[in-house]
């Protein structure tokens, strides 16, 4: 309980500091702290998968993007009028007041988890989160992959011909030679881990993206052709849609994996998501293909 209290108050503090500080860099740093703390909190709430995503994606990749922004853009702050602040305060307080009675209604609810564990054996994977993510609610994930792809192509469309930020330091340069192979190996391992334990495609993909971004910081790039890169970016969505449609055309129904084929279908989709996510996040960071 004490741990919860401490973690919670630290979380709140970091959020407040991040939002209150006038300096963008400070605000960015506190935001990263906020991300890491919330990752810890998710572990505390017995959600290790989420914690992993939060740390590699929510705080690592986001903070990279944020620092890139702080480094390259001049952020103009405008004076906020007192009346606006007043109303903002009124609205948020009103929200709190509105939500207080909710705390009185709390009771423990039987929910879907029983169902999830019951059907887990039919999903083709052993990790319940992965089962929900890629089988029970696979359609959500399809759209989610769509969202990432969409976001990245949006970024490409917006920033045609952006400069890439380079970090010229001999130590970094030599480190990068070691880091990339390791991340490649590790990310695929995490992805595979997802089928039966903590881990998964998004975590793996984000890790790989981290390695690639590190590589990019040293002024290098992944030397593959642009068209191949583009098709790799689209790979996950193509595979996901393709698998879904394949089962729809063969009469099972959209995204209905027949039991013997479900494991292989999920692994195929996971691998493609891992690869594409990595490249997509990397592209999002660079701002171009």
């Amino acid at each position: 309980m004490l741990l919860d209290l401490m973690l919670g108050s630290l979380l709140l503090l970091s959020a407040l500091l991040s939002l209150h500080s006038r300096n963008s860099l400070k605000s960015g740093i506190f935001f990263v702290v906020f991300g890491l703390l919330s990752g810890l909190l998710w572990v505390r709430l017995e959600a290790p998968d989420v914690a992993m995503v939060e740390i590699v994606l929510g705080s690592a990749v986001t903070s990279l993007l944020i620092f890139k922004l702080i480094a390259t853009a001049r952020i103009k702050a405008v004076k906020v009028h007192r009346i606006r602040k007043f109303w903002a305060g009124v609205i948020s307080l009103a929200f709190l007041v509105y939500m207080i009675p909710y705390l009185l209604t709390l009771r423990k609810e039987q929910r879907i988890e029983v169902l999830v564990f019951e059907k887990l054996s039919m999903s083709g994977v052993e990790s319940p989160v992965t089962a929900v993510l890629l089988n029970f609610r696979g359609y959500d994930t399809l759209l989610e992959v769509g969202v990432i792809t969409l976001a990245v192509f949006g970024i490409i469309a917006l920033n045609k011909g952006d400069k890439v930020y380079v970090w010229r330091d001999p130590l970094v340069q030599s480190l990068s030679r070691w880091i990339l192979p390791m991340t490649v190996f590790f990310s695929f391992y995490v992805t595979y881990l997802g089928t039966f334990s903590v881990g998964g495609a998004f975590q793996g993909g984000s890790l790989l993206a981290g390695g690639l971004i590190f590589l990019s910081l040293t002024g290098q790039d992944v030397h593959i052709g642009e068209s191949i890169k583009k098709s790799l970016l689209l790979l996950s969505l193509l595979v996901f849609c393709g698998v879904g449609l394949m089962y729809a055309v063969t009469g099972y129904g959209f995204l209905v994996y027949p039991l013997p084929l479900s494991t292989i279908s999920i692994i195929l989709i996971e691998l493609s998501i891992c690869l594409s996510t990595a490249l997509l996040l990397y592209t999002a960071y660079r701002g171009k293909v």
């Binding site: 909710y102 969202v147 469309a157 969505l237 879904g244 959209f254």
Partner: protein
């Protein structure tokens, strides 16, 4: 007759992906555009024939475990007119990118198809979380489409829109989380059974409704809309203004008539929304009348026209009898439908005006009636639809809604609807006048690409003449 509803989402996505491959682009656009359109129409006919809602459990998992898709008259209708608008705008864009913004075509089609997929997913879904993901697809696509021209104004509008839209999405998610915490399900048809009077779902009401109001630009959350919809290229404006604001209002209708129980506090909420809708009609029209540029005028007109969809929320609550309920749904759908087509046509025609005159001001609007009759017809018919003159679909919408409100003796709604259409006449009139006026310096003989003229005309004409087949179209809604 059966149809896997997954096709309706997967094929537009595939079309979007393939359109990124330079050599395949036109083929992908043609094949997947036609295919998606065909699927939407097929789905509409299916819903028309079937009468009852058709459910599909994606992945074969029954809710609460899996996600349900639902095809009924209402969603079929929305799918259908979404397809009509997309085909119209698609045809227009084929001509548009030949003449301007050539470098933007590379990505346009990608977002075009993703927007279509997102809308289809939204209209079909009956899972609250899945709706959240679809909403995010929509807001991201819309955000990028706003920024597509790449100039400062567009980027700023896009940024403001995107941030607000994200904020609203998260509020929505918060509402969904509250519902999930208490009811352990995300499926609308299951929640409909477990919601009861005075239940915990009332706590989700505030975040849900605020979020949906922001997303469909209800007064006073409308401020993001005019800059966002007016600063981008014509086909994107057409898609955004005609379609992207509709899903939240659609969801509100759905939730209200299908999920919410009878609850006194809901009645108060419905009146707040109704009043805000009325204010949206007045302020939206007022600002539309005062605008100097045609695109801003049209954007404010969207604010006003969306007001109708909220003005009638108190009717949802009052619509106790099955017959009345159908009338309200019919009026809502007709309004959404005819506004979508007419507004798309108007924006496309305004794109033609900018194409020939290179200006956006209403007072410099070309005298289309004397040089480009098709664009004039487009403006004429779609304007009449916005005003709600017979035979247009807009007339039927207003007639049905006024009638419904008089039946439950909500004179307020009826009178506002009537005044609203008079106000609409006031902002449509300058467009008509300028396009009919004969001033030699405002008559351009520069030919407009045929596809751009014909698509604008076709959308406007369909919007106007849809009234003739209103009876047939509305049959679809009888089973909802």
């Amino acid at each position: 007759m059966s149809l896997d509803l997954g096709y309706l989402v997967a094929f537009p996505i595939l079309g979007g992906l393939l359109s990124l491959i330079g050599r395949l682009r036109l083929y992908a656009v043609f094949v997947f555009g036609l295919l998606s359109c065909f699927l939407s129409f097929y789905a509409f006919l299916l819903s028309l024939k079937h009468g009852k809602p058709l459910y599909q459990w994606v992945g074969g998992w029954i809710p609460p475990l899996g996600i349900g898709l639902r095809l009924d008259g209402l969603s079929g209708f929305f799918l259908m007119f979404t397809a009509v608008v997309f085909v119209g705008v698609g045809v227009y864009s084929l001509g548009f990118f030949k003449s301007a913004y050539k470098e933007r075509e590379e990505f346009f089609w990608f977002f075009f198809f993703f927007l279509w997929a997102g809308l289809n997913a939204f209209f079909l879904s009956e899972d609250l979380f899945n709706l959240y993901v679809s909403l995010e697809v929509l807001s991201l696509t819309a955000g990028v489409l706003v920024a597509l021209p790449g100039h400062k104004k567009a980027v700023r509008a896009s940024l403001n829109y995107l941030l607000l839209s994200l904020f609203a999405s998260l509020l929505y998610l918060f509402g969904v989380a509250i519902i999930y915490a208490s009811y352990g399900s995300l499926s609308m048809h299951m929640l409909a059974k477990s919601f009861s009077e005075g239940g915990e779902f009332l706590y989700s009401l505030l975040p849900l409704i605020v979020s949906l109001s922001i997303k469909s630009a209800l007064f006073p959350f409308h401020f993001w809309l005019p800059p966002a919809h007016s600063s981008t290229i014509a086909p994107a404006s057409a898609l955004l203004s005609s379609l992207v604001v509709k899903p939240p209002a659609y969801l509100l209708l759905r939730v209200w008539i299908e999920v919410f129980p009878k609850d006194k506090s809901l009645e108060y909420v419905s009146w707040v929304l109704g009043l805000l809708g009325a204010l949206a009609i007045f302020f939206g029209s007022y600002y539309a009348i005062r605008q100097k540029t045609i695109k801003m005028l049209l954007a404010y007109s969207t604010v006003a026209q969306m007001g109708y969809l909220f003005l009638i929320v108190p009717l949802y609550y009052k619509a106790q009898y099955a017959e009345m309920r159908t009338t309200v749904i019919e009026g809502f759908t007709m309004q959404a439908f005819s506004h979508a087509l007419a507004k798309a046509s108007m924006f496309l025609a305004s794109g033609n005006a900018i194409y020939v005159s290179k200006r956006d001001d209403i007072s410099y609007m070309p005298g289309f009636a004397h040089s480009h009759p098709f664009t004039f017809f487009a403006l004429f018919f779609s304007g009449a639809t916005l005003v709600g003159l017979p035979l247009s679909g807009g007339f039927f919408a207003k007639f049905l809604l006024i009638k419904a409100s008089f039946e439950v003796s909500m004179l307020f709604q009826g009178v506002v609807l009537l005044l609203g259409s008079l106000l609409a006449a006031l902002y449509v009139y300058p467009i008509w006048r300028e396009s009919l006026s004969f001033q030699p310096e405002k008559i351009y003989h520069l030919p407009i690409p045929r596809l751009m003229e014909v698509s604008a005309f076709a959308l406007g004409f369909v919007a106007f003449s849809s009234g003739l087949v209103a009876g047939f179209l509305l049959q679809a809604l009888s089973g909802v």
